[in-house]
Amino acid sequence: MTAMTGAKMVVQALKDQGVEVVFGYPGGAVLPIYDEIFQQNEIRHILVRHEQAAVHAAEGYARSTGRPGVVLVTSGPGATNAVTGLTDALMDSIPIVVLTGQVPTFMIGTDAFQEADTVGITRPCTKHNWLVSDTDSLSDVLHQAFHVARSGRPGPVLVDIPKDVQFASGSYVAPQAAKTSHYQPRRKGDPDRIAELVAAIEAAERPIFYTGGGVINSGPAASQLLRELVDATGIPVTSTLMGLGAYPGSGPNWLGMLGMHGLYEANLAMHDCDLMINIGARFDDRITGRIQDFSPNSRKAHIDIDPSSINKVIRVDIPIVGDVAHVLEDVLRVWKSRGRRTERDALAKWRARIDEWRRVDCLAFRQEGPTIKPQYAVARLEALTKGRDRYICTEVGQHQMWAAQYIRFEEPNRWMTSGGLGTMGYGFPSSIGVQMAHPDALVINVAGEASWLMNMQELGTATQYRLPVKQFILNNERLGMVRQWQQLLHGERYSHSWSESLPDFVKLAEAFGAKGIQCKDPADLDDAIMEMIKHDGPVVFDCLVEKHENCFPMIPSGEPHNKMILGDASTSDAIGAKGAVLV
């Protein structure tokens, strides 16, 4: 135990936890901590331009490295601005540690300047949070915060530190000496259930793996084990938006993403399977469509580290609570020891049926005429960047779905997108966090112009730290997904879904000291993309695309998987009255 001030303890605890980068924004209630940051060189602080962006940057950092992202912001507005990012991280199970300043303990409750009930406001949007009332307990709480953020189902935590606690002296405990938390989620799955799952795999005639973000969160070993299991059994695999990259997009058993805008073959296979093995996904409503008709004839297994995910929306037959990597290791071992059996003939028939669905070629589009189709833009981006050391972020909307459909992910942790909360404005700051973690990698944010404008101030951050992030904006001058729903659902009354006064993105980039590129001719697209890639610095790429393109395939809300619509021809009355009230 060493005596030091609370502010110094914060920096010491971060170092002891192996933190290299902090994303933050100073203010009155965190000045003592900023003073300590000034006086050291081990931890890098990245000054963002808005606290929401600090949290998204930390999320990008965390998603691309598997290590917790760290945020430091001030009290009051600093903390309230972080709320969207915290909620985003909670929904997508991203480990982040947010440190907020607070007014001094003796002023709490007096409506002091920049006071907010931070732990009260963030209680429902963190995995756990703490208000530290004395300096002696500070280091212990900080170490616990990292433990909770990382353990079990990862998530955001927040530590609220009053200013007098930062100034006062107390004794510092190192992580090894910190109080051990009783919070120790179970990692090993129940062996009886695992044996049951193996028996189900052996007997299944139309099995499918349905994987999610839990595979990524479990760590690289989980993805390796998944690949081994999938390829050894020959069972087709699909994934949620969050799980892309766990199984390689070029792999022989890959079906593509499933869900509302998932691939035809993936959704039909989900609907018609006789054994569904959910690995680290949570039967989100974007995946299931109409619950009553969700995969009606299958037995369902569910591997999840969070017991509350199991039987929440879909009743499963084989629940397995545990960490994906631990459970898959056991499944593989048991399956091998029992003779590596599968129903080979039935599986071959099942794969042939899937191949028929594949031939529908649901992602086909025709690039013709003088305007760039957004699908074409993403497809060309994919073609010109694949094979590189590449990370893809997205904002939220049509472009996000096109990115998920047309870009192939070969490795986990390469895909940063706001899945659960659907936060417009996530992608740009997230790309900054990714680039900080991977300075030499090609980091691209596939964006829509409306989402991107929500956190465009981060151009300042990108240029200040010379982060060569590429902002690939599909500019349709519309809120594309909103416009699509208004077309399908609200009688083509396009209420407030277009932007009348968009900026000149090239000039905007230049105003911040970044490079701007505009492209509107399909013939110029490849050269323009190459120019973007080659530029050593942040680039804003304004790609003017077809304004009224819809994102297909689509399961209309309230419909089951086998009622997908594939293109504009079949969209009238796509969404019924009951579906209309769903989001």
């Binding site: 732990v119 209680r123 429902p124 756990h128 189902r153 509350s308 929440k312 609200h490 009238s572 009355d573």
Partner: protein
């Protein structure tokens, strides 16, 4: 393109109403939740119920181990079997929750609630109130010439029954503690 025609009453079919393929019978369950007694822990538990739309029929909380800083929260809730399972799982993942026990399914248990009743009246009604209190083994803890305050302990049903009887006899005010419950047997 289809016009938006939402049938009467369908607006409540929000995304939260997707569970309808399960048994719709509501059950009443008594949960005992042992928590770390730290600031905000009750808000976490209550916030979980309000945030996810679960019912709280009654709730009691007090520290039960001063040295170990443990509190016991007894919650009476109701919902379909699936919702009850979900409530328990959600409670279990709160970081400062140590244990969740469903006393309703984990074997026999005793449930007791304490209530105070203020009853005012004169003449025969006053005598009748006292007589009924005796039958229910309620104690008089305060009295004036025009009123009694009864203290009664028992199951919530017994207290409900007592309230029904006192109402025509001049019941003015009721204070109830909510249920405290323990499993029967040695451990």
């Amino acid at each position: 393109m289809s016009a938006l025609k939402i049938e009467q009453g369908t607006s409540k079919h929000s995304a939260y109403d997707l569970r309808s393929n399960y048994a719709d019978v509501n059950e009443r369950h008594t949960l005992a939740v042992v928590v770390e007694n730290e600031p905000g822990v009750l808000a976490r538990v209550v916030g979980l119920f309000s945030g996810r739309g679960y019912n709280i029929e009654s709730l009691t909380v007090a520290e039960i181990d001063h040295q170990g800083h443990r509190s016991r929260i007894t919650i009476v809730t109701s919902g379909t079997p699936q919702i009850i399972e979900q409530i328990k799982a959600q409670l279990g993942r709160i970081v400062v929750v140590h244990d969740v026990h469903d006393l309703t399914v984990e074997g026999p248990s005793v449930e007791r609630e304490l209530a105070l009743f203020k009853v005012t009246g004169e003449g025969e009604k006053r005598v009748e109130a006292l007589r009924l209190a005796d039958i229910f083994r309620a104690n008089v803890v305060d009295s004036t010439l025009k009123s009694f305050t009864f203290e009664i302990t028992g199951t919530p049903e017994k207290i409900d029954a007592f309230a029904d009887l006192m109402r025509p006899l001049g019941l003015q005010e009721v204070a109830r503690t909510g249920v405290a419950a323990l499993a029967r047997g040695p451990l």
